[in-house]
């Protein structure tokens, strides 16, 4: 563990500090900020970005990038609601819908990974092109927003499981999966692939499998995010999630993962996603005139990104 602490330590500490400052400012500006219901509602708002950012972390660690996560979110959403509706909207239909949704997410990631790692395409332009394809497919599946999901679905999402708010259960599961992956050799190998690809290859790592896995994970986490969004919106929308890819990249970088690959981790990305979310909240409660909101948000994010890079730089 000591090695991990030394390598990853400073980066996410900085983000954690930034988050703390934002939390304090927000608590001052918003009197009820620390009430459990408000905390829960904020965490609910941030959850999809958190999930997408965790998935994006693996791709970035491996030295690639995935611009298609937003389109995957839309595709998973429309497929899930369509499958649930087609199967009659009962309990089993929801389960099947969820599974199919996850399959579509992981499958889309797999397609990205196979094209990029298998055919040696450039990740930026490739995932941009596949995102066009995925959004096209989403519009094919569901040409316009609608198709409500059954009430138990979104009531459960907004409610509790065994007395614990569902959102917290999802956070927990997401963390557990991330922690599981972090403890596997997979993580070291992925960092090696992102760190220095030739060295990883010469060491005998199966680069193709590792990179494809990373993209599949990114697609899977995008599916998780999409299913949460479906719970939040209770309906299908082929245009969902369009700004998620760029926000997720910001979150990952804020979380101390190097865009060049090889350094970082999912925990930092979670913090980064919270920071991105909190910036929006703080700006709102600071009562800025509306025409300055976008500007100030942009400036804070730019400053945070610059600051993070500066502090963690040696």
């Amino acid at each position: 563990m000591s090695g991990l602490g030394k390598l990853g330590g400073r980066a996410w500490l900085v983000t954690a500090a930034a988050l703390l400052v934002l939390l304090m400012v927000n608590a001052v500006l918003q009197p009820n900020f620390l009430e459990p219901s408000v905390i829960q509602s904020n965490l609910t708002t941030f959850l999809p970005l958190v999930l997408v950012a965790i998935g994006q972390t693996y791709v970035i660690l491996g030295g690639d990038i995935d611009l298609s996560v937003g389109a995957i979110v839309a595709l998973v959403n429309v497929v899930t609601v369509t499958v649930i509706a087609a199967l009659g909207g009962e309990g089993t239909a929801v389960i099947v819908g969820l599974l199919v949704g996850m399959g579509v997410g992981a499958g889309s990631g797999l397609v990205n990974g196979l094209i990029i790692a298998g055919l040696r395409f450039q990740p930026i332009v490739t995932t941009f092109a596949t995102s066009i394809v995925f959004s096209g497919l989403a519009l094919w599946v569901l040409p316009q927003a609608g198709m409500p999901v059954p009430e138990p679905y979104w009531r459960t999402y907004a409610g509790t499981i065994l007395g614990v708010p569902t959102v917290y259960v999802i956070y927990l599961l997401a963390f557990l999966l991330a922690a599981f992956l972090a403890a596997r050799p997979f993580m070291i190998r992925l960092k090696a692939v992102g760190g220095l690809r030739t060295a990883a290859f010469q060491t005998g790592l199966d680069l193709g499998r590792l990179r494809v896995s990373a993209f599949a994970l990114s697609g899977l986490y995008a599916a998780f995010a999409s299913l949460c969004l479906t719970g939040e919106t209770a309906s299908g929308d082929p245009l969902m999630g369009q700004t998620l890819a760029m926000s997720a990249i910001s979150a990952v970088v804020l979380g101390g993962t190097a865009l060049a690959g090889g350094v970082g981790g999912a925990l930092g990305s979670v913090l980064g996603a919270w920071v991105v979310g909190m910036i929006g909240s703080v700006i709102f409660f600071a009562g800025l005139p509306f025409e300055y909101q976008t500007l100030v948000q942009g400036l804070i994010i730019l400053a945070a990104l610059a600051g993070g890079v500066l502090v963690t730089r040696r």
Binding site: G3, P185, R189, K191, G195, L196, Q202, G204, L205, G262
Partner: protein
């Protein structure tokens, strides 16, 4: 008995470059086998083919008499082959321990990485080289924080950790100092005792004759000779390497002490791992920097060139202040710098030979527009003057072998000739023929009035080339050897300082 490794009729081309032409190599069980040859003769390529990282065009490799699967590094490892890569195969972002066990991480019962085991097994490996590894060589040290020689040691440990039956060391000693080489040789001998076969590539003839049992010599992609080390001598080996036409550079040192005035005055310079250092050098002098590796020689050179500027101190050349804040300052004062780390410091990969050659002249001559044919000719002449072998000025730099690339990078500074030439281990990984050309060139430039300062990791190079050698230890000059005192004995003694 079956040889453990037999490579037959291996051919390989990279586009137009023929790297190997029916090359062969036979290694017996438990022997240390030296593989020698000039730069670009195909040694590394042959090794990489055996280790599965380069695909061969034709030929076959037998391990223990069986046809080996060469499809991937992974397969090679499974067949007991491990390669120490000349360019190293370490991931800078990972720790030493993670690098050593990359791809074969110990796991606990749950299938999770067993970090405690990595720590402990890495420590055991480090113990083998601890005496010469220097500080900070710990399991959780990040590889990017290690010094070049420590990285080389790390690569050695990484190869050992794979417990192979055939190990190929491709210039494993290139940046090691003498003590480290000794430790490495001890390891080689242990391996030999365990029945492991080693292939040892080096451009240092001393090392080869100190450790090798048998020697295979390659030239231009072909295997031209095989010797038993005990039954041959350097002359025969070198003769095989360079072929009949090759001229072997004799000692070119001018033993007469130089007349003339101090021309370069370095006064109290200091930087992070250097100083204070003061010395003077004369016109026409070849001044060597000696000592153990990493004692500030490189810092001094890059400081003089402005690449890592001095914090304090002053440098004058012909009474002009030339203390450089950045390389451009130094270049403006006709100071030139050639590094031995071509990939990092010199090569513009993917660009043409002309661009690689001419770019510095454009800067020096403050030209903004590329001139025409005459300009090209000028550089063609310089390259020809250095016996560079190249297809054309517009061919990419990557089409040349290491030695020829280095000639290109030196030619950058020759038109017009520099006043002060800084050479930072410039012949690292360069074959004997090219080295000879190189020594002659350095002497010629000095005779024409340049001052040359050279750092070399090979003492013999300093001894044969330099008029005077400054020995550095811990960042300061501890000895100034010239005339009668410029001997191997004095140089070694001064290098080791009191510790010797």
């Amino acid at each position: 008995m079956q040889p453990i490794l037999r490579a037959r009729d291996i051919s390989k081309s990279f586009g137009a470059v023929r790297a190997l032409e029916k090359a062969r190599l036979t290694v017996e069980r438990g022997e240390i086998h030296a593989l020698l040859g000039a730069n670009g003769c195909g040694k590394s390529t042959l090794c990489k083919i055996i280790a599965g990282t380069v695909a061969l065009d034709s030929g076959e490799v037998l391990i223990d008499g069986e046809a080996a699967a060469l499809g991937s590094p992974r397969l090679a490892e499974e067949q007991g082959v491990a390669l120490f890569y000349q360019e190293l195969s370490l991931v800078p972002q990972l720790s030493l321990g993670e690098n050593i066990f990359l791809g074969r991480e110990p796991r606990n019962a749950l299938g999770f990485t067993d970090r405690a085991a990595i720590q402990c097994e890495t420590e055991a490996l480090i113990a083998r080289v601890a005496a010469v590894a220097g500080t900070g060589f710990t399991p959780d040290a990040r590889v990017s924080d290690l010094s070049p020689d420590q990285r080389q040691l790390a690569e050695i440990l990484k190869v050992l950790a794979r417990k192979p039956k055939i190990i190929i060391f491709d210039e494993a000693t290139a940046t090691l100092d003498r003590r480290q080489v000794e430790v490495f040789f001890d390891i080689l001998r242990e391996l030999k005792a365990e029945g492991v076969s080693s292939i040892f590539i080096s451009h240092r003839m001393d090392e080869v004759f100190a450790i090798a049992d048998r020697i295979t010599v390659m030239r231009n992609g072909e295997t031209v000779a095989e010797f038993s080390a005990a039954e041959t001598d350097r002359y025969a080996v070198v003769y095989a390497m360079v072929g009949e036409t090759g001229a072997i550079a004799a000692s070119v040192r001018d033993h007469e002490p130089l007349e003339g005035d101090a021309r370069l005055v370095v006064d109290g310079v200091r930087s992070t791992r250097l100083g204070p250092v003061s010395f003077v050098a004369k016109r026409g002098e070849i001044l060597g920097l000696g000592g153990l590796q990493g004692q500030g020689q490189k810092a001094l050179l890059s400081g003089l060139f402005g690449a890592e500027p001095f914090h304090v101190g002053r440098v004058t050349l012909d009474d002009v202040d030339v203390t450089a804040r950045r390389p451009a300052d130094a270049i403006a004062h006709r100071i030139a710098y050639v590094s031995g780390d071509r990939g990092r410091d010199s090569a513009l990969p993917g660009r043409s030979i002309l661009e690689n050659t001419a770019i510095a002249s454009l800067v020096r001559e403050k030209r903004h527009v590329i001139p025409g044919a005459q300009f090209r000719e000028r550089f063609a002449d310089v390259l020809t003057g250095l016996n560079t072998r190249y297809a054309g000025l517009d061919a990419p730099i990557g089409s040349l072998s290491g030695g020829n690339q280095q000639k290109v990078f030196i030619s950058r500074w020759l038109s017009p000739a520099p006043g002060l030439l800084l050479l930072d281990d410039p012949t690292k990984g360069i074959d004997l023929g090219a080295k000879g050309d190189f020594y002659l060139l350095a002497r010629k430039l000095a005779d024409e009035g340049a001052t040359v300062i050279i750092y070399s990791s090979e003492d013999s190079e300093l001894l044969s080339l330099c008029d005077r050698v400054l020995v550095l230890n811990g960042g300061v000059i501890t000895a100034d050897l010239q005339g009668d005192r410029l001997t191997p004995f004095e140089l070694t003694r001064a290098s080791y300082g009191d510790a010797a």
